[in-house]
Every structure is written in structure tokens, then in C-alpha cells.
Symmetry: C2
């Protein structure tokens, strides 16, 4: 549970395509630097945590502008570090800015704080009922871990940072070691915005590390009050365990492993099996299969229609395509994981090429039940088709699933009528149910849920969309507190004009 | 992390007043019984978790009625088991029924599910934006631990059970071993209500144990998806650690230790020091000091006004009064804890009698800083007055506090203007700020927050009031899901007429 001393040594990024070292050198944070940054984040929280929603919104908008001002450099550097194509990185830059502005709008409007007022009352029998008012307040400094697969939208200025800053928390980011240059540019954008907006020193800090010591030190630091993480189950669970073992345990919001099962129901399969296969191929291989919502498990009936769709999917997956994975470590884990699964009893390989190729495997419900590892996440452009003998076996497969970010069902209206029970089972297994679509492509909106039962997510929550902001808050109640010491959101006359609950009823009164 | 095998042996309650054994014998649950109950709770959840808010509300109202029908027996038995006076137990019965009806009203109305709808949109550049709708769904079976100090309102049919059942979770209660008879009667009330309302077998189970093995078995059971607990820091932390070490970690909502500091500011002290002392005495000794919101730390300036108020408080605390604590274990822990503190350097005893008497101690800011244990919870009618030299020392004391359920400030308007910084500090230290009142007396309303930073509470949340329901939920999103498979709360036309968010805006559309 204790980390080695941080060494402060230098390291360089490696080009994802070639493995060549990229300038400049980055410097792993020392323990003293981590401690200094955490103390500064705690001191800054006293100020930043009380800035108005309008001030926080202006800061978030300024970050978006500063990122846009660095867009060309970000896309170029991220392209080198991740091998993701420029169009994808441009889209990801836009997404990053959109979500910063979404949170800006949310906190400028202000109703998100869940303000509640219960007015004082005299009671015939017993003491006066006091005036009670409560709302959500920020937790304190949050440690955010950049993700390898979204160098912009889930990294330094990504969704965790945006939602934590929006909530009023200060943020300490651990840059992902696979893209320190991209991280540094995004960190510069946030620092420039903080300066422009007169934010306190320590509202944001970016720290680097080639290994895991920095992450351990951040999660163990007494000043840190919550953690946001996107990455592997192994790393996420390690952080959960560290946080739970602290003298003061803190919540870890970790988005981890998910296989995103796709159920293809019989009538839809008969009507448009080839189209579904094409959609699956696109979704499995999008971003080289490096999305947390990649469909890694396809539940397909036995029989002619299933055979044809699987054959079509196998054909598409076998097309020669050059995939460059994000890091050499991911590429070797992918190759080893795919080889291991292909060698298991009851697993047939339908498509596989040289190197980081797309891999399609086929197995049976019985084989999956015997070896649940076949249903676990394999990061990269691979998927496992599970053939089943019909409704009862399908429902048993669904009931046997662990937690996932998403579950997808392809069907016709008649299918849905027949398989109503499947929806009821899947509601308990995933954070998002997708019908006649594909799970990749996560909209950033009010209603989105990106988070599912463990191991998909560590705690019930969403890391995408406006619901993400509540992760970094705690409720605080004010009993008979005079107006001058009340947050504006709770004052008489509703000066901010927000939606709030008066004696249990929501209105803008 | 593993528990011994549960033995199924018998045990009897002891009268709190006399230590005499009370009939009948209760039976500690065996491991097979725990497993059977947990499996039944999981099976029942598939049904109960989809019952409408109106059905769940009717069930909660029926529980309240069944408790009222057993009121005389409950008050009599609880009186024997806890030595709490009949008037208090009658009040607690009313509170228990009121909170059941509050949650009934909440779920019958239905807006609490935080329904959000983002409609589909076509986009000029890029794919169609899908239809996304989300709401809070129940987590699954919840294990609830009865508290010693509220044999009704925080036990079998108490706030955790009421909020979990309201959310749609099934519930497994571990009866507190100090009041198994009271627990059994409350359990019968719930079972009778479940039968009357046609609820599935397993919607609720009551299990007994003289020791801790049952609690360990419940928290470790794979079917259990969350835990509600009120009790000591030691026991709560043990459950947190067990839950964090599970293959699938689950959230533990534990309400644990809190000392509830009370700050008396100089002008209020000068104006009404004697009145504040009388109020403190009443709050410290209410329920024999066995409330989680008992003021255990009083921050009082040095000087004549402070001396007079402390002398007055000491006089009141020294009045002969017979306190009977809830259990022999609590009484001996109280006696040992008080003796230990009284023996510490820098601690002066201002009032203490024989046996379970009220105890008032006085110390200095420096002594508290040197020995933070003096500021920890001591369950029973004791409190520590900390004398300080003025504003700077007061603020330093406030900044040095850990997490508490409440923090209280007595002051005049001029005091508040001068001590604005104190409110800002206390917002970060407690879940409820009380002005010119006393922390005991926790209203059950929409705006209440009963929960503070660790060690007061394990996770940011409230265990009292309507906010408590969200503890037992997770968000689920439906993407392009046909109407027939959508929960009613998310269907077009808003058939339930609830407040919900459409494209980010709350209304009853």
C-alpha cells in the first residue's frame, strides 16, 4: 500500500507508429512536488470552491478557447504520440471543447446544485421546526488520471477535469505517460485560462510520471478528496484499494473494463443480418477497437441467418487493415490476449491477421459459461461471437453477464415483444441500453450515462454528460443560518433564478 | 477478511436497566440461512424493483400502519431492552411512521428518479444524434444494520430500510443484538405489510445474531449490492473495509463518529451565556447523550463571560441525574472513555458523578491540538469545553477539525459579520451548520443532510430526509429504446406527470 519514493527522473514520449523517442524530455514529479501541488490545490480550493457559477463557467469557456487556439499543435503532437488519425483528433478536440462549454452552461445556469428549502414552522406540540436549506458543495481537490485512448476528451482537459472544475473542485492531473506532449499542451491551455480569468494559483496542476508512483502518491495524499480515472480494471482496482485503505477513505470514480454485449434477435437477423454485421465491424474496429464501448461480445443465434451474418462479419474483419495501437504495451497485451483466447477450448478463430490485426472469434454459450474470461474486455479490434440455441439460452447468457457500460439489442418490434424479459435483465447489467444501434459513440448530454455495475465502474455514476458533476460534490445543510452566510442559491427570493425545491416541490420560486 | 462459520446458537436480550435476561430466545442466523435470505432478496428484487412508485408507496404506508397497530407492544418491549423512556419511544415510533410516509409520498409523486430526456436530432455533419433517456434505478438487495440508539427510527423499519424500499431495493436487516425483541416486532410489521400488499417473498428479511458474524456474512454476500449502517466508527470502518475487499466492491453508507462542535461567539456569550449553557446541558444529556448529534465539543472564549457560562454548564451537568445507558457494553465503554480523558494532561473535570453520570471536562486549545483524541466521539452524556483566546485561535481550532455531522455557531449579527470566515471553514467540516440552536433534533425533510465528511460518514450522502433515497440507486440510460420497453417515467407525454429534464430544462412536460 505504500509507494516507493518518487525519483524525479526524466522520460520521453514514444511515437506510437514507430517507437521513436520524441523530444522534449519530461520530468517525473518528485514526492516534494506532489506534496507542494496538493497543498496548493487545497489552499486554492478555499477560494475557487466559492467562486460563482458564472466565474467557473467563464473559466471553463476560456479553457475551451485556449485549447482551440492550440488545436493545430495538439492534433499534430497527439497524432505522433497516439497514431490516431488527424480527423479523429480534430473531432476529439471539438468534443473536449463542447463538453467544457456544456459544463460552463450548466454551472452558469446553476440549478444543478439541487437546492432545497424547507421553511421554519411553528408546531402545536413540540419545538419550532427550524429553517433548513441545503445544496451540493464541491468536495475539495480531485486527482484526475489521463486515459490512454482519449488523449484529449478523457485526459488533461477532459470530462473528469471539466466536471470537477465545474463542481468547484481544484484538480491535480496525472498526465498519461503515453502522451505527455499532448498533456503538456492541454495543461498550458488550462494554465493560460486560469491566468486570464484570475483563478487562484493551484486551481489546476499537471504532473508527469513514467510509472505508477505518482498516481499512488496522489491517491494517498491527505489533501486529495476524490479520484477520477479511466483505464484498465487492474489499474482502477489498485486505485480503489489504495483509496479504501487511507486513514480517510475517499471515493474513486473509475471507469474500467466493459465488453459491451450486443444481442442480435432472430427477426432483425433475418431481415438485416448483413447490415448488422457491417455495423458491428465498423464499431469493433473504430479507433482500432480502443474504445471502452467497443462491442467485445456478440450474442448470435445458431442457424442459417446467424451463420450468414457471422460469415459476413468474419469476411469484413479479415480484410487487410493496418491498425496502430496506442502504445507498444497495449499492442503486446492485445497480441498476447488474442492469442490466449484463440487457444482456449471451444474457441474458433474466424478472422486474424499479422500484428495488430482485427480478430474475430466464435464460441458457444457452454464454452463461455465454462470460461468466463472469454467474456472479459480485450482492448483492441477484437470481438467474440457467442452462438446460442434460442431464447432460453440467450436469457441465461444475459443473466450470467457481469457489469458493463452498455448492452445493445438489435430487433424488430415483434422481437422486442417476445424478448421483453431481455430488457429487464439488461437494465441490471449495464448503464446504457442501446437499441438497433452500436455502443461506440457516446453523446455528451444531460441524459447520457457512461458507467455501469462493477467492473465497468467503481461506484454508481456517469463519467460523461452533466450527471458527471455530482460525483465531486457533497450535500451541506444550513439550519437557521442568516442570509449573509448563506450561498446565493439558498437565499430568499431566489436571486439566481434557479430551479429549486421548496418544501418538496420543484419550481423557480 | 473472512468470517467464522455462523453457528445458529440461541441468545436472549438483556434488560438495559437491570441486566436481567428477557424471554424469548432468539436464534443467530446460520450461514445457510443468510445465503437463503440473500438469494431470495435477489430473486424478489427482479419483481419488486419494477413495482410502480404507487405500489411501493402503498407498501411503505402499510408498514407504518402495521407499526402503529403494534405501538403499545413496541414501546413496552423497547423500553425494557433500551431503558429509553416511554415518551421518547412513542415519539420515535411516530418519527418512524412519518419517515415511512414521507418516502411513500416521494415515490408516489415520482419526480425523485431524476428523469432526463434528450430527443433525437439529425445533424448536418455526422451521424444522427440518438434519443437518450435516463433515470435512477434501484441497486439491488441492501443490507441494513440496526442501530443501538434508535431501536425504531434507525433500526429494522428505520430510515435506511424505508429509503432502500422506497428506491425499489429489497432489504436484509441485521437486528441489533441489544434489542432483538423490538426488532422482531418491527419485522413482523413489515412482513404483515408485505403480505397485505402482495409483495414478493424476500422483499424483506430480518436476521438475528448475538455477535458480528452475521454482519460480515451479509456484507460479503455476492447478492448484496449496498449497505446502510449507523453505529461506531470501529464497526463502520470494518464494514467499509470488508465491502472494499469484495471481488465486486459495493458502496457502504455508514454514519459513524461525530463530536458536533459548538462555537459560542463573544457577543452572544455576553448577551445570553446562561441560556446557551442551559441549552447545551439539555442537548448533551438528551437521550442520555446517546445521539449521534450530541455536542461533544464546546468552543468557548476565555474571560469572564466564558467563565460564567462554563460554571453554569458545570453546575447543570453536576446535578444528580440517573442515566441508564443502552447496554452494559456502552455503559462500560462510557465509563472507561470518560476516566481516560479525565486523566489526560491539561484536562480539568468540571462535573462527574458516580456510575453513568454526566461528565463535563475543560481543556485548552493547545491541549486539544496536542491530543486530538480529546475531540473524538464519547458516546454518552459527556462533553469537553475547549477554552480559546479569541478569533485566531478559534479559526485554527475550526480548521483543525475532522469531519462531523453538524457544527453549531451561537452568535449575534455582529458576531456573524466578524466571524464570516468561520462559516466558510465549517462548511468544509460538517454536513449541517446550525445557528443559534442545538444539533440534537434531526428533522426528517427534503432539505435535511445527516452525513458529513469522514469519519462522520463513509461517502458523501445523507441518511435522513428524502436525499437518503439516492444512496441506493444507479443511473440507467435508454438509447433509442422503443416505448414499450421504457419505464413509464421516460415515456413520451410524461404519463406520470413528474418533473423531468427535457434537453436540459426541468419541467413537468
Amino acid at each position: 500500500m505504500t509507494s516507493t519514493l518518487l525519483k524525479g527522473s526524466g522520460f520521453k514520449a514514444k511515437a506510437a507508429g514507430t517507437g521513436a523517442e520524441l523530444e522534449p524530455e519530461f520530468h517525473s514529479a518528485t514526492r516534494a512536488e506532489v506534496d507542494g501541488a496538493a497543498r496548493l490545490a487545497a489552499a486554492a480550493f478555499d477560494d475557487y470552491g466559492r467562486r460563482s457559477g458564472k466565474e467557473r463557467g467563464a473559466f471553463l469557456r476560456a479553457i475551451a478557447e485556449e485549447i482551440e487556439a492550440r488545436k493545430a499543435a495538439l492534433v499534430e503532437r497527439a497524432g505522433l504520440e497516439t497514431a490516431l488519425p488527424a480527423a479523429r483528433l480534430e473531432g476529439e478536440t471539438a468534443r473536449t471543447c463542447n463538453q467544457l462549454r456544456m459544463f460552463a452552461e450548466l454551472v452558469e445556469e446553476g440549478s444543478w446544485v439541487d437546492a432545497r428549502l424547507d421553511r421554519a414552522q411553528t408546531r402545536a406540540n413540540g419545538p419550532r421546526k427550524p429553517d433548513l436549506r441545503s445544496l451540493l458543495r464541491p468536495l475539495g481537490p480531485v486527482a484526475v488520471f489521463g486515459a490512454s485512448n482519449f488523449p484529449l476528451a478523457f485526459s488533461v482537459a477532459g470530462g473528469d477535469t471539466a466536471s470537477a472544475l465545474a463542481a468547484g473542485c481544484t484538480v491535480l492531473v496525472k498526465a498519461h505517460p503515453a502522451h505527455p506532449g499532448t498533456s503538456g499542451l492541454a495543461g498550458e491551455a488550462i494554465a493560460a485560462a486560469a491566468k486570464r480569468c484570475g483563478m487562484p494559483e493551484g486551481v489546476f496542476a499537471l504532473l508527469f510520471d513514467a510509472g505508477i508512483e505518482l498516481g499512488v502518491a496522489l491517491v494517498e495524499h491527505a489533501a486529495v478528496k476524490a479520484v477520477g480515472f479511466t483505464g484498465s480494471l487492474q489499474a482502477g482496482r489498485r486505485l480503489m484499494d489504495l483509496a479504501a485503505a487511507r486513514p480517510e477513505p475517499i471515493p474513486v470514480y473509475a471507469e474500467m473494463g466493459s465488453t459491451n454485449p450486443v444481442f442480435v434477435l432472430p427477426r432483425a437477423l433475418a431481415e438485416r443480418g448483413a447490415e448488422i454485421a457491417a455495423g458491428l465491424h465498423a464499431s469493433i474496429t473504430l479507433g482500432a477497437g480502443q474504445f471502452c464501448t467497443k462491442p467485445g461480445l456478440v450474442l448470435m443465434p445458431t442457424g442459417d441467418h446467424g451463420d450468414a451474418a457471422v460469415a459476413k462479419l468474419g469476411e469484413l474483419m479479415a480484410q487487410p487493415a493496418k491498425f496502430t495501437l496506442l502504445t507498444a504495451g497495449i499492442a503486446s497485451a492485445y497480441a498476447a490476449g488474442a492469442a490466449h483466447r484463440r487457444a482456449q477450448a471451444g474457441v474458433k478463430t474466424l478472422a486474424a491477421g499479422e500484428g495488430a490485426s482485427a480478430v474475430l472469434m466464435e464460441t458457444t454459450a457452454a464454452a463461455l459459461a465454462a470460461d468466463p474470461e472469454l467474456g472479459e474486455e480485450l482492448f483492441g479490434p477484437a470481438s467474440v461471437v457467442v452462438r446460442h440455441g434460442g431464447k432460453e439460452e440467450l436469457l441465461a447468457l444475459a443473466r450470467g453477464l457481469g457489469g458493463h457500460l452498455t448492452a445493445t439489442v438489435h430487433g424488430t418490434d415483434e422481437d422486442f415483444a417476445e424478448y421483453a424479459e431481455l430488457f429487464r435483465v439488461l437494465e441490471g447489467k449495464a448503464g446504457r441500453l442501446v437499441v438497433n444501434g452500436f455502443p461506440t459513440g457516446v453523446e455528451v448530454t444531460s441524459a447520457m450515462v457512461h458507467g455501469g455495475p462493477y467492473p465497468a465502474t467503481s461506484l454508481p455514476s456517469s463519467s460523461v454528460g452533466t450527471r458527471a458533476i455530482t460525483r465531486f460534490t457533497r450535500p451541506v445543510c444550513y439550519q437557521d443560518v442568516p442570509a449573509g452566510a448563506l450561498p446565493l442559491e439558498l437565499r430568499d427570493g431566489n436571486p439566481l433564478g434557479i430551479a429549486r425545491m421548496n418544501d418538496g416541490v420543484i419550481s423557480t420560486q
